[in-house]
Amino acid sequence: MAETILEVTDLKTQFYTERGVVRAVDGVSFDVKQGEIVGLVGESGAGKSVTTSSVLRLIEEPGEVVGGEVDYMGRTIVGFEDTGEELVPRDEMLSETQMRDRIRGNEIAIIFQDPMESLNPVYTVGGQVKEFIELNRDISGKEAKAEAIEMLRRVGIPEAAERYGDYPHEFSGGMRQRVLIAMALGCRPNLIIADEPTTALDVTVEGQILELVNDLQEEFGTSFIWVTHDMGVVAEICDRVNVMYLGQIVEQGPVDEIFHDTQHPYTKALLNSIPRPDRTVGDLEPIEGTMPSARSPPSGCRFHPRCPDAREPCKEAEPVFQQVSETSDGTAHRASCLKHEDVGYWEADALEVEVEK
């Protein structure tokens, strides 16, 4: 089995606001293996982006990573020790300088949703790609420029050499997203975090980008964490999937299992609520209500107020995120739902779904 390159264990990130503490990421565990595309899905407010920012230690005031471990190929990106009174960062945790020089960009790159905000409008596109390559690899000058043009061509920019000197506004949205991918790939990172990279794009352009990512991933063996709310994109490209709800991962497993042997009611509800492009659906089954605030999450299982399967114990008992099955190749399928625990779920009465309209 492929080597695990990133391991996130019980990660916790909080934001301190005037109206209270927001536990945006509350005990998240997942891993990424070499050459794998791992999906992180959920609705807005589920904590997907905060999770990936925490992995790269990009959380800013008033937010803070308050617990958990992030291990990247033996290096500690996040790690704490308990002094008895409080949690303090361990010595081996990488410093800010080490993160900047050795991790971000050259080991783990990130691509954001809005390419216009990620590119500097007053520098040429080619120049920005070249600079990125120079900063992260041991090449410079002419060689870096040649590499930049090559990367632009590889991601499908027509007339790459001629367009090297163009400015970002002269590119279409899809082309700009390609430039960001060229930038990320140009640094030969081991892992790319793609945060909703195709959400703002038209569907045919999205198709082009997904195709490109598949090709490049095969060629370079790069791993991806793909953040998205779109179950279609997940089905299309991910190998394994993490489904997030209100700061926690509620289900995790190989993509086929997630769609065809769904173990968490939230995942199931999410799949039943989306209109299908490939078939006519009589009636959609929406998930009732809206996601509650992470400031005061519901007791017990966080999904219980909206869960069609909720029963009495769900109000009190917090489900454990645990393995529920295993595929033939030994990949774990995990879920946090009382159905898989011995707490009297099956004997209990169903809860009325109470939602504020």
């Binding site: 179950m231 609520s273 989306i274 209109p275 492009p277 490939d278 006519t280 089954e285 998930i287 309209k357």
Partner: protein, 434 residues
């Protein structure tokens, strides 16, 4: 007689809205210099015709910049059309001034995409819903209040929300408030511009279901604008696919999705990721970007990206040869075929280029006759590093000689699914049109 007096009664299933030859060109530059030098027009919507029957949902679907929003706004006369006519309940909207049209607007309402910015944050929900009724002098104050509360109930909110402010609500709830406001004047037509695009998937389903239920109950007619083909399949009765200001294809929903006939629609449907890992397949991705609506391609506007461009008769090529020529054309246009020139300014011997071209694109030999001569000429230009000439040559001789460039296609064919008709703007159907 005023416009409102001419409104005819339209029964369910009868034509409510008739659009014919509707065109909207924007001036791309309206500054002082444009006045002197003239400016080119952006052809946002060009000669579009269709009808909507009372009680039906028609969707305009297309990618950004295809003109779907402009079309909807032009239909409502929120934008003055450059040409063409719109008839609503028998009234020619284009014949009347904005002021004269105002009383008609109670019958035509609109919902916008962004539920954040389309509700006035300083007004209470009740006032927001009452505003259109007040503007059209409908009901007494007490009646309006009662009706607003009733409408809140109808869109599955609580009567008590009457006194709350928009910021207290989630995106989905705000879109329901928008619906309640649009319904307030009991309109016939509600134009919905990306009604659920800003909402989370689970909430989208709630709002879509509410829209369906309300239509069933009140017989509303919806004109839905959307880029989301899944949403459109769920909600629409008929779908018009737009590309660069033209309608590429228009058919009943089931027919369009199960039997798409326009290469653009096929590419679009092919591109949507299906939420099922077992239906991953090698999809045909559409190459290139949408061309500029300033000077759009002649004839069929999709022809510059079309994988099924019809082979020009004068070239006398076999289907295989034509495929090779197309590949070569694209490589030259996109300059993906780049020979290793020896130095900054020097060219290469023609032989080197032709050898490379033959190996890459015509392994069984270059076509004879005219096409062969053109390819020779293109190779000479490439050898001399005259890329612009090469590009112009392939475009002019291999693309613009096609029937696709010569005339705008408009055909109607019988539908396979159901017994309706199917409009498809593609010359591939020039022989089976009815």
């Amino acid at each position: 007689m005023s416009a409102v007096d001419q409104l005819a009664d339209v029964g369910m299933g009868e034509t409510l809205l008739e659009i014919e030859g509707l065109t909207k060109h924007f001036q791309s530059d309206t500054g002082l210099l444009a006045g002197i030098f003239g400016s080119e027009d952006v052809e946002a919507v060009d000669d579009v015709s269709f009808e909507i029957a009372k009680g039906e949902t028609v969707a305009l679907v297309g990618e950004s910049g295809c003109g779907k929003s402009t079309l909807a706004r032009t239909v409502l006369q929120l934008i003055q059309p450059t040409d063409g006519r719109v008839a609503f309940k028998g009234v020619e909207l284009t014949d009347w001034s904005q002021r004269q049209l105002r009383p008609l607007r109670r019958d035509m309402q609109m919902i916008f995409q962004d539920p954040q910015s389309s509700l006035n944050p300083r007004m209470k929900v009740g006032q927001i819903i009452e505003e259109p009724m007040q503007a059209h002098d409908m009901y007494t104050k007490t009646e309006r209040r009662e009706r607003a509360k009733e409408l809140l109930e109808r869109v599955e909110l609580e009567r008590e929300y009457y006194n709350r402010y928009p910021h207290e609500f989630s995106g989905g709830q705000r879109q329901r408030i928008n619906l309640a406001r649009a319904m307030a004047t009991d309109p016939d037509l509600i134009v919905c511009d990306e009604p659920v695009s800003a909402l989370d998937v689970s909430v989208q389903a709630q709002v879509l279901n509410t829209m369906r239920d309300l239509q069933e109950e009140y017989g509303f007619t919806y004109l839905v604008i959307s880029h989301d083909l899944s949403v459109v399949r769920y909600i629409a009765d008929r779908v018009a696919v737009m590309y660069l200001g033209h309608i590429a294809e228009l058919a009943e929903t089931e027919e369009l999705y199960e039997n798409p006939q326009h290469p653009y629609t096929q590419a679009l449907l092919d591109a949507i990721p299906i939420p099922d890992p077992r239906s991953r397949d090698a999809r045909g991705t559409l190459e290139g970007d949408v061309p500029s609506p300033i000077n759009p391609p002649s004839g069929c506007r999709f022809r510059t990206r079309c994988p099924s461009l019809i082979r020009p008769e004068e070239l006398d090529l076999s289907a295989d040869e034509w495929d090779q020529v197309r590949r070569f054309t694209r490589a030259v246009q996109r300059r993906t075929f780049v020979p290793e020139y020896p130095d900054e300014d020097e060219g290469l011997p023609v032989g080197t280029i032709t050898d490379a071209v033959d190996a890459d694109y015509f392994p069984e030999g270059r076509p004879d006759g005219e096409a062969g001569e053109i390819i020779d000429e293109v190779c000479r230009s490439i050898a001399d590093r005259e890329w612009d000439d090469a590009q112009e040559l392939v475009t002019e001789r291999f693309e613009e000689t096609s029937i696709c460039a010569a005339e705008r296609p408009r055909y109607t064919i019988p539908a396979m699914v159901g017994d309706g008709v199917h409009d498809v703007s593609c010359h591939l159907h020039r022989d089976d049109a009815i």
